[in-house]
Each structure stands twice: as C-alpha cells, then as structure tokens.
C-alpha cells in the first residue's frame, strides 16, 4: 500500500499531464483518422492511403529522404568525427563551432540559402554559367538530400566524436600487438565501440529528416513527403481534409516508432563502459594526408554553416522592397524593428514560458523517475518516449484535433503553442535530470543525514545545488529548441500568435529574403546567447545539444 505523500501527488499530476497533453491529442488523432467527414466510423481513410498513388509516392518519398538524409549525415558526420578526434586538426574548436551553427540554424533558412546559391537564378549557378559550366538547379530530391545531409550531420558528428574520444587506447594497442592492420583495427575494434553512438546519431538524423517539413516544401517542387502532405491536407483553404491529415499523422508516428525500435534493437548488445584511463592520442598527419583531412573537415563544416553565413550576409544587404541592391544597409533590420517587434516578443515570451514550465515540471518528474524506482515510474519513463517520436507537424495537428472543440478549447491561443513546445521538450529534461541524479552518489545525501539533516533538507542542500547548473544549462538548450520550433507552430498559430520561425517561413514564401535573413540572424543571436549561457554552466559540452 503506497503512502499518500508528496511524491504520490506528483505521480498523479504527472499522469494527468501526460493524459491531457499527450494521450488525448494522440487519441484524438487516432479517432479522427477513423471517421469520415460525415462522422461515420470507417477505415476508408486508411484504404484511401493504401489506394491512392499520391500517398504511395509520399510514403516512398518520405523513406527516400529519411534514409538519404541518414546516409548523408552518417557519411559526413563520421568523416568529420574521425578526423577531428583522431588527427591533429588546426582550429578543431572552430570546426565544432561550425557544427553547432548548423545545428542551431533556424529552420527553412537552410533550404532557402541553398536556393540563393544554386537555385534557378542562383548566384553560384549564374557564376558557373558565365564560365560555361551548366549545372542543374538544386530543386527536387537531390537538393533535399544535400540539405538534409548538411543539416543533420552534426547529430552524427557530435555523438560519434564523443564516443571515439572515449575508446580506451589500450584496446587498439592490444589489437596492434596481436598483429591487426590499422584498417582491421578500425573496423574490428573502434567501429563496434562507437556503433551505439553511430546508430543513435543516425536515428536522430533519420527522425528529423522524416519530420522535416520546410526543406521538402521549399526545395521539393512537387516532391511531396508525408509531412508536407499532412500540412497540405490540413491547411488547404478549400476542401481541408482533417481526417486524412490525421491518418497521415498516425502513419508518420508509426514510421518513426519503427525506427526507434530498430535502433534500440540494433544497439542492444553494444553498450561498453570504457574506463577513461587511457584516452586516445591525436595523430599529426603529414603531407597530402594532412591536407586531405583538413580540406574534408573544413569543407563539411563550412558547407553545413553556409546557410547561416549567407543569411547573416544577406541580412545586411541593401534592398528595394524585396529586391536586393548593391551595397550594404540596415534596412532589413529597420523593417523588423518597425513592423515585426510583436513577432519577436511572441517568440521570446512563448519560449520563456515554455522553458519555465519545462524546467519546473521536468525537474520534479526527473527526480520522481530517478529516485522512486518502481513499476509506475518505469511506465512513466516509457510514456515520455512518445513525444520524442512525434514530428512537430503531428503534434500541431493532434493539438488542433483535441482542443478545437470539447471541454477544453485552446485553438488560437498562445497557451496551445506554449503547451505544444512544452510537451515535446519535456522528455529531454526529465531524462537529463534523472540521469544527472543517478550520477550523484547516494552516500552524499546519507552523509548529510548522518550529520543531522532531515532527508528533505539533505536533498535541498546537497543534491539540488549539484544538479542546478545542469538544469539551467538544459533549460537554455530547451530555449533554443523552443524558439526555433516551426512545424507545430505553423499549424497552431493565428495572426496574433505568430512566431519568428513562422514569419520567416511566410517571408520566404513572399520572396522577401532580406527581411527573412535579418529575422533569422536575430533568431540565431538569441539561440547563440542561450547556447553560450548553457556552456558557461556546464562546460563546453556539445553532446548536450542533441
């Protein structure tokens, strides 16, 4: 018989929260997909999905961009991770910074910058044409894959470089002593050791690629994926088809879940806890190998950060309406200042509100999960995986499906946007809090208790100060995610609750790249500040960004 105490209340409230913000919306999506427009229970939507070539194509396309993005990210990410962690690369920290830039760059702007360079009227393409080289524009599946590879490689890079620098050098030396060649050593020793990190990074790239809505929207030119189909069906002015949009959402969730399970299955045996006594040395390469390694690393890093660099440059270009002129000016920023102040205010206030909620609820629930281990908390831990596999667009549609009518009506409010960000980011905070609590030796609190502090006081005076820096850092990183969140806000916003990413998306659709670039630069600046504060609190730890 469990005692009815503080933690019981927390447990009940947590389940209530999950119920309202997760199970009801997901349930609504499921229910809605099972009814037709006139309200009859039917599998027609799923049959339609199976029957119509348009949806087949979107499904196949989703898998193509998913796996294409995965392999591109794996290739670029592992090359960079291997070079940076095993060879002496000048400016290694700068390279990591480039990867972080690519990671926190505002959505959409990536795709658009590539259009600016390689689109129909692209700068680089025009330049090459003048030289007599004719290259096809970047639109279509090829363009999407290039952008995905460059956008998602940091996931693989950060995961794998962390794992590679923790492989005990003695293991490789032992293999060397047994007569294995360098190639054999790499594939038989190092590769299995970093395999879990590789699959984890790959999974992040895959899930983000499947969920990404902006890149195929801008670059696809008719190459539709499930995320864009769902949005089109939901947002069509005429003949909006909510039940078909929810059907596609369910399929998107299923696809993501299959891959999460697959990754767990693949890396189930490969968990190594290396002791850190003998860290690997970086080798100083000589001659052409050295040049090659540097070129590879910097090429990947600069290409990944290219969108950011382009948008910062373009934000300072002189414009006449949406048309760029020669020279530089601050006109784009003036337009933001005079016309778009409320968008920035919205973004900042929604993100701050979401982060405050995330930090408070996430910490309390994280303590619950870490300290009260029983059946219920294990179940809770599992339930928190659900938002992780839900693409933003699906969360948005689910929230509309759940809170448009019925007892709680939230559509069109700021609350619904804040809550959608909150539920998506909450799992990360719960997990990081729980894992940092598990790292604190229980004897620390016991020492305080033996010195005369009650268990609650001991927790407050010893454990809390030890986890607070991590919590603040985690909050800052949640802020980065929150302020860059596009796809769910795009479904949930109304005129008065428009956020910066939504505005950037609309500006790009309107062809006003100057203002979009300036707004992106502001967004980047805000994200940069948050990352800086986070690193101040927990040391430079790129892996925490994942």
């Amino acid at each position: 018989m469990p005692r009815f105490n503080f933690w019981t209340v927390v447990m009940i409230l947590t389940w209530l929260l999950l119920f309202v913000l997760l199970f009801i919306p997901v349930g609504s999506v499921l229910v809605s997909s099972l009814y037709d427009q006139s309200g009859n229970l039917t599998f027609a939507n799923y049959l339609k999905f199976l029957g119509e070539p348009r949806f087949h194509r979107a499904f196949i396309n989703t898998l193509v961009v998913g796996f294409g993005g995965l392999f591109g990210a794996l290739l670029l990410g592992s090359i960079m991770a291997f070079c940076v962690s095993r060879f002496v690369i000048r400016g290694g920290k700068f390279v990591s910074l480039l990867a972080i830039l690519a990671l926190v760059s505002p959505p959409f702007i990536g795709a658009y910058s590539w259009i600016v360079l390689f689109g129909a009227g692209g700068v680089v393409r025009g330049f090459l044409r003048d030289l007599g080289i004719n290259m096809p524009p970047i639109y279509g599946v090829g363009g999407i894959l290039i952008v995905f590879s460059l956008k998602f490689y940091p996931y693989v890079y950060l995961m794998v470089s962390g794992a590679l620098s923790n492989v005990n050098r003695s293991l490789e030396e032992a293999a060397e002593g047994l007569g294995l060649t360098p190639w054999q050593r790499t594939f038989k020793i190092s590769f299995p050791m970093v395999f879990p990190a590789l699959t984890a990074g790959g999974l992040l790239a895959l899930i983000h690629a499947i969920a990404d809505f902006g890149t195929p929207r801008l670059l696809g030119r008719g190459y539709n994926v499930l995320a864009t189909e769902a949005f089109t069906l939901y947002s069509a002015e005429v003949g909006s088809n909510m039940s078909m949009a929810t059907t596609i959402s369910v399929i998107l969730i299923l696809v993501s879940m299959v891959f999460v399970m697959l990754q767990r299955y693949m890396s189930r045996r490969n968990v190594y806890h290396g002791n850190m006594i003998n860290k690997p040395n970086r080798i100083q390469l000589k001659g052409w190998r050295n040049v090659l390694a540097h070129v590879a690393v910097y090429l990947i890093g600069l290409c990944g950060a290219m969108p950011v660099i382009i948008s910062v440059i373009y934000s300072f270009r002189k414009t006449n309406g949406p048309v760029f002129q020669n020279g530089f000016a601050l006109q784009s920023y003036e337009r933001i200042l005079f016309n778009l102040g409320d968008v920035i205010r919205n973004s900042v206030s929604f993100s701050v509100a979401a982060v405050v909620l995330i930090v408070i609820v996430g910490t309390v629930v994280g303590v619950l999960v870490a300290r009260r281990t029983n059946f219920n908390t294990a179940l809770l831990d599992g339930a928190f995986m659900v938002p992780y596999v839900m693409p933003g667009i699906v969360i948005g549609i689910a929230f509309i499906a759940a809170f448009n009518t019925g007892p709680i009506v939230l559509t069109g409010t700021a609350t619904i946007i804040i809550l959608s960000i909150f539920i998506r980011r909450l799992p990360y905070t719960v997990r990081t809090t729980a894992s940092s609590l598990r790292q604190i030796s229980p004897s620390m609190e016991e020492a305080a208790i033996s010195l005369g502090y009650s268990p609650f006081q001991a927790f407050l005076r010893i454990t809390v100060p030890l986890i607070v820096p991590g919590i603040i850092a985690g909050g800052m990183l949640s802020f980065v995610t929150a302020i860059n969140e596009l796809s769910s806000s795009l479904v949930l916003y109304v005129g008065s609750t428009m956020t910066m990413p939504v505005r950037i998306y609309l500006l790009i659709l309107d062809g006003d790249f100057g203002t979009a670039a300036a707004l992106s630069t502001v967004l980047l600046l805000l994200s940069g500040c948050a990352v800086y504060i986070a690193f101040r609190f927990m040391g430079r730890n790129e892996q925490a960004l994942l």
Binding site: S441, S443, M444, A447, A448, L451, A458, L466
Partner: protein, 351 residues
C-alpha cells in the same frame, strides 16, 4: 551490558536473501570495533542498520541503553565515514566540516574554532578554503573524517574508508585514524575486508561470514587462536594436511588426536626447514621436495611437496643460504603446538 548493543539482528532482502542472520554484538565505550569479512557477508548491512539507512527485519539496537531503531537517522547523532568519501563538491573544505554543526545551532565563533581544530587534527589546516574537487583521495577522506568527528557524535561508523586508496597511503591513514580515535576516545565501528588492516587498527574484531558471526575477539585471539576454520583461513594463510597415513603418522608422533572426520591445518610461519633426519623432541618431521621458492624480501615462502600434501613454509629473514632449488629434498619441521584441528562443521577442536 555494552554501550552499543545489537541483539538478534536479522535483515532480509527480497524473498530469498538473508543478509543478516541473527547477529548479536556489543561495543564498549571508546572501543575500536571492526567488522571483518568477505564482500556479501553482511558487515555493511549491519553498519547501515546502526546508521539508520536501512532498517532491520527483526532484532534490537540500543545505544547507551535506549532503543535506536525508533530514532530517524538524522537524529541518531552518529558520525559516518564513507567508502567513496561523499565529500560535498560544491562546498569548501571548511564548509564541508562545518556542515554538521549548523543544524546543531552551534554559534559561529565556536564553529570556527571547532572546525579549525578538526582540520588541524587531520592535517588539512592549510587547505580550509579550497574546494575538494581537485584534492587527492587521501585528502578527501581526511575531510570526511574531520566532518564526522567534529560533531562529537555518540558513535563513529566507518564503511571501508581506505579501500579506494593506494597501499602506502592506506597504512599511513589507518595509523592516523587509530591515533585520532584514541585521542577523542569515541566508540568506533569499522568495516573492512582487509585482514591486515583489521589486525592493525582494532581493539576487537568481529569476523562475519554469510550473515553470521564466526568469532569476536582481540586481534591476537583472532589470528593466534581462531575458533573456526573460516576465521583461520580468512585471517592469515593456512596449510591443510591431506588426510592419509602420512598425516596420521605425524599426528601419532606428536601425540595429537581428533575424531576421524576432523581436518588438520597449520600456519606457514609456525613451520621450519631442518637438516635431514633430525627431529627434536616434541616435534615431527615431514620429508618432501621443494616445488616452488618465492623470495619476498623480509620473508621467503618454500612450497614443499610432502606425503601429507603441499605445505608452504615461511622463513623469516631469509639470507642467501636460505635459497632452495626446485627438486631439492628438504624436511619440514612441525612443532607439537602448531597444528590446529577443525571438526566437520568448521568449529575448532581443542585449542
């Protein structure tokens, strides 16, 4: 009646694992009492039950005559030193040691003098303002010791405090712990699996095995007069004679007898090597061949293959002449008072 008394302590984990199986001990005021045993023997469980971090399934614990089990751990006034030091990384050395004085409402000026004294006692006086993170394991454990002592607890508990330190520091710090404990004259319960440490530091040792007490006694009693075969083997090393005609002949010669199912054993340092054939009165001789010679500086171990099994002889201060070649024929001298007999249940016979 002892200062701290544990009576019939039983602790059950899960359905099947009995960590403590009816343990009773009594510790006197100012006594240094050590719980010694292999891992999993229940010594840490007993210590944590006294501290209050886990409760007994059944049994009694009294301190100075009053029931301890009903007192919550933070009101027991018992100092504890941990294996992993448990030094608070976000507090300075001074604040770590002062931490336990604050809930006791000690005035600030007194805190300062008491903490300074405690830090001087553990030779950390010069490091009061440092953060412990960058300090060595030995220094961190000194902080842990000062922190537990400064509150003048009614009892001091130490859970393998030296097991994470290197060998030389371990010896140095155990001497310091012993000296400080004698100075402040506080009843201390010390948990370790290191028999040499237990012998060096304790007033009395309680040897535990599988949730039960094997023997309680002074270091001399435990080592010199072990009451069970487990104690004899765990504390020190033991040669066990193989049953057979050779053993029985030797026992006959010495005039020793025990039931048929008893086993006979002897400590290596009680044996000696003698010239062939000469057996002084009241001793027996086993002839055999040297199968291994190990030189250890202040002693040497000679392993001899005898008709009564492999016997190790420990020679003190081995000079050049003591060196034995493998295959050499030697005689092992067994004095009459050296062999110990243990019954089939492991209990000592005679002795």
């Amino acid at each position: 009646m002892g200062y701290l008394e544990v009576r019939n302590a039983t602790k059950q984990f899960g359905a099947s694992f009995l960590a403590l199986n009816g343990v009773s001990v009594a510790v006197e005021r100012g006594e240094f009492f050590t719980l010694l045993g292999p891992s999993g023997c229940g010594k840490t469980t007993l210590l944590r039950s006294i501290a209050g971090f886990n409760d007994l399934t059944s049994g009694e614990i009294t301190l100075d005559g009053s029931n301890l089990r009903i007192v919550p751990p933070h009101q027991r006034d018992i100092g504890m030193v941990f294996q992993d030091y448990a030094v608070f990384p976000h507090l300075s050395v001074f604040d770590n040691v002062a931490f336990g004085l604050k809930p006791r409402k000690v005035p600030a000026a007194e805190i300062k003098t008491r903490v300074t004294q405690a830090l001087d006692a553990v030779r950390l006086g010069a490091m009061a303002d440092r953060l412990p993170a960058a300090m060595s394991g030995g220094q961190q454990q000194r902080i842990g010791l000062a922190r537990a002592m400064v509150i003048n607890p009614r009892l001091l508990l130490m859970d393998e405090p030296l097991s994470n330190l290197d060998a030389k520091l371990r010896i140095e710090l155990r001497e310091e712990i012993r000296d400080i404990q004698k100075q402040v004259n506080i009843a201390t319960i010390y948990v370790t699996h290191d028999q040499e440490e237990a012998l060096a530091i304790s007033d009395r040792i309680c040897v535990m095995n599988a949730g039960r007490i094997e023997q309680v006694g002074t270091p001399q009693e435990i080592y010199g007069n072990p009451q069970t075969r487990f104690v004899a083997e765990f504390v020190g090393t033991l040669n066990v004679f193989q049953p057979g005609a050779a053993r029985d002949g030797m026992l006959n010669q010495l005039g020793l007898a025990a039931p048929d199912d008893a086993s006979w054993a002897v400590r290596p340092e009680r044996l000696d090597l003698v010239a062939q054939g000469s057996a002084p009165a009241g001793a027996a001789v086993l002839e055999g061949r040297v199968s291994k010679f190990t030189y250890l500086g202040r002693e040497a171990h000679v392993q001899v293959e005898t008709p009564a099994g492999l016997i190790v002889v420990q020679l003190a201060n081995p000079g050049m002449a003591a060196t034995r070649a493998v295959g050499e024929v030697v005689c092992v001298l067994v004095p009459r008072d050296a062999p110990m007999a243990f019954g089939a249940d492991g209990a000592r016979i005679g002795g």
